[in-house]
């Protein structure tokens, strides 16, 4: 009966990334004999729901809370929870004051695909479409600016929430990370600049949508689509040539580590600390010179952090 209670709060529950994270946490909790509570915001950026969830989990007796922050507004609530002896670990998205951070570096994920796209394009002049998330999202900004930095364009640093743009980024549109909207965005970009040759996408559903748009326009051949996440479906798309390369991240790993840290804390009273980079790997079907990447096979094995 005295199972340690661990809370997991994700940004949403509609993104496979977070669904996998939850599954990973559940599996690990079962293995280690802990009780897992979960909650999430209604949409990305819904900090109010996350704060409420923190409070409710503390009331329910959770001793460790794992959270993928939707925004820094949760920090004070985290502090309050910590003052009651609760360990709070940030997964995926960093914020100040977390006891520990298990995450990938989204800026670096962006840099990797930027470098890949640059190399794959060769010397041709770049015409880039940027298919972003939605305004004001830190992860969106980090990936976007990271991509541009990797591509060798001038862009803001990792701390900025502003989306950079240069003459090479001929079109930018929001996708909400959603396939249908990704397709619409790409279609509109193609109207604006029919000769786009590089497409940055915020995630793989958006990439699939972009590919659909290109295919309908008969232009899927000469265009390089890059993306981030490395989910199983996304990696499969890399294999099919839909996506040229994607930066793979490992939500299952983050979650499992978080649950383990929670159990440790319950048993031994020792809090986790510091930043553990769960890693990011570039997955590409065709390797290009000068950029280190892994094959689709490796990506499939690792997708979401299966191993």
């Amino acid at each position: 009966a005295d199972q340690p209670i661990i809370g997991l709060i994700t940004k949403t529950e509609t993104n496979p990334f977070f669904v996998k994270m939850k599954e990973g946490a559940q599996a690990e909790a079962k293995k280690l004999g802990a009780k897992l509570m979960t909650a999430s915001g209604k949409k990305d950026g819904d900090t109010a729901a996350q704060i409420t969830a923190i409070e409710n989990m503390v009331t329910a007796g959770a001793k460790t809370i794992l959270i993928t922050s939707s925004g820094d507004a949760i920090i004070p609530a985290v502090k309050k929870a910590q003052a009651k002896g609760v360990q709070v670990i940030a997964l995926d998205s960093p914020f100040d004051g977390a006891d520990a951070l298990f995450a990938t570096d989204n800026y670096k994920a962006g840099i990797l695909i930027g470098q890949y796209a640059k190399a794959a394009l060769g010397g041709k002049p770049a015409k880039i479409a940027m298919l972003d998330l939605f305004p004001g999202h830190p992860v969106g900004a980090q990936r976007h600016n990271g991509f541009m930095t990797g591509f060798g364009l001038k862009a803001n640093d990792a701390k900025s929430n502003e989306l950079s743009s240069t003459p090479e980024t001929v079109c930018a549109a929001d996708t909400d990370g959603n396939q249908a909207k990704g397709q619409t965005a790409m279609e509109n970009c193609l109207q604006k600049a029919p000769d786009i040759n590089v497409v940055y996408t915020i995630n793989e559903p958006a990439a699939a949508g972009a590919y659909n748009a290109l295919k309908k326009a008969g232009k899927e051949k000469g265009v390089i689509i890059v993306s981030v996440d490395g989910g199983c479906a996304g990696v499969a798309d890399v294999g099919k040539g839909v996506i040229a390369a994607t930066s793979q991240q490992y939500p299952l790993k983050m979650a499992a580590m978080g649950v383990a840290a929670g159990v440790d804390y319950a048993k031994g009273g020792k809090k986790a600390s510091g930043y553990v980079d769960t890693g990011v790997t570039l997955i590409a079907d065709k390797a290009v010179a000068g950029v280190e990447s892994q094959s689709v096979k490796v990506g499939t094995d690792l997708c979401w952090g299966n191993k």
Partner: protein, 319 residues
């Protein structure tokens, strides 16, 4: 007495079309690529899903209701039809039927709660929106369903008309609009939809089974959401559990922009089509102008208000 002037719709109903025309002229002047036939055909493709959802929404709003569940039902329907076809290997027509069946069933539930227990449509559909969302996520495991059979995405294919490629789905959408327009305008049951929204008590007293009309409208709306499910599958070639999150607001916006009153009984389904296209034109035109996304939101906000203002002023002029 029966002059041409009498036959034309009154100026008050032209508002949404005027707003549409104004938006088009503005984008035509500020961008190079807006007024190409290809781009215009593209906009139609982009609005076809919301457009069909908005038909159902129009019907419900005409009865003085509102449907928040429409987008989520569309997502659920698309997951059901793709999963049934891909995972259980059901023949495509049957799988489509199952998807449409599910959305229709939800429409029936909405309708029963509204007519039998007399709950406010806002709350009923808020509830079913949540339920449909949860079922979609649970059933799909939040995973996109891909490898959808070709025949299920046929409506997304295009045919050439001159130089321009039109999607079959757009033709379907336009056909549905024309059909519903005819139904609402020229048949008894269509007029009863207006009557129920205009004065439900009077409609009951003249001996029209108002509950049956209402129930029929909700069920029919469910059917339209099911068709929208098929269209979204056709358009994206996948079953996407994340679809439908913004479609309810978009659809209501299209209806209201189209001049239908949220108080029921007044409006025209073709106005909704214009409203849906206005939304699509704004999104397309602003991207073509290279407006960055925060500014797009800002400008959309202002333009939406301007569009109804044009509408409103043209109505006053028309009196």
């Amino acid at each position: 007495m029966n002059t041409l002037k009498d036959k034309l719709p009154p100026l008050s109903q032209l508002g949404p079309f005027i707003a549409l025309a104004v938006a088009c002229v503005v984008f035509g002047l500020t961008t190079d690529n807006f007024f190409t036939p290809a781009n215009l055909a593209l906009i139609l493709q982009q609005v076809m899903v919301v457009g069909v959802i908005a038909i159902g929404q129009t019907l419900i709003i005409l009865t003085a209701g509102i449907d928040l569940s429409c987008g989520m039902l569309m997502a659920l329907g698309s997951i059901v039809m793709t999963k049934f076809a891909v995972e259980y290997g059901l023949p495509v027509p049957l799988a489509i039927l199952c998807g449409v069946g599910v959305t229709t069933l939800f429409g029936l539930v909405n309708g029963l709660l509204v007519t039998r227990i007399k709950l406010p449509p806002f709350i009923v559909t808020l509830g079913t929106m949540n339920v449909a969302f949860a079922i979609t996520q649970l059933y799909s495991d939040a995973q996109t369903v891909s490898n959808v059979p070709e025949s299920m995405t046929w409506l997304g294919n295009t045919f050439g008309l001159g130089d321009t490629q039109f999607a079959y789905g757009v033709v379907l959408m336009v056909a549905l609009y024309l059909g519903v327009w005819y139904w609402l305008r020229d048949t008894a049951s269509g007029r009863h939809v207006y009557a129920v929204g205009n004065n439900p008590e009077a409609t009951r007293l003249v001996g029209i089974p108002t509950d049956r009309v209402l129930l029929g409208v909700y069920v029919l709306a469910g059917v339209f959401y099911g068709i929208a499910s098929l269209l979204t599958v056709a358009r994206t070639s996948v079953g996407d559990p994340n679809a439908g999150q913004t479609e309810n607001l978009d659809a209501i916006t299209a209806v209201v922009l189209g001049g239908t009153s949220l108080f029921g009984g007044r409006g025209m389904v073709l106005g909704t089509l214009a409203g849906a296209i206005v939304v699509g034109v704004l999104r397309n035109g602003l991207t073509l102008m290279g407006v960055s996304s925060v500014y797009q939101v800002l400008i959309t906000g202002i333009l939406v208000i301007l569009a109804v203002t044009v509408d409103q002023l043209s109505r006053k002029g028309g009196r």
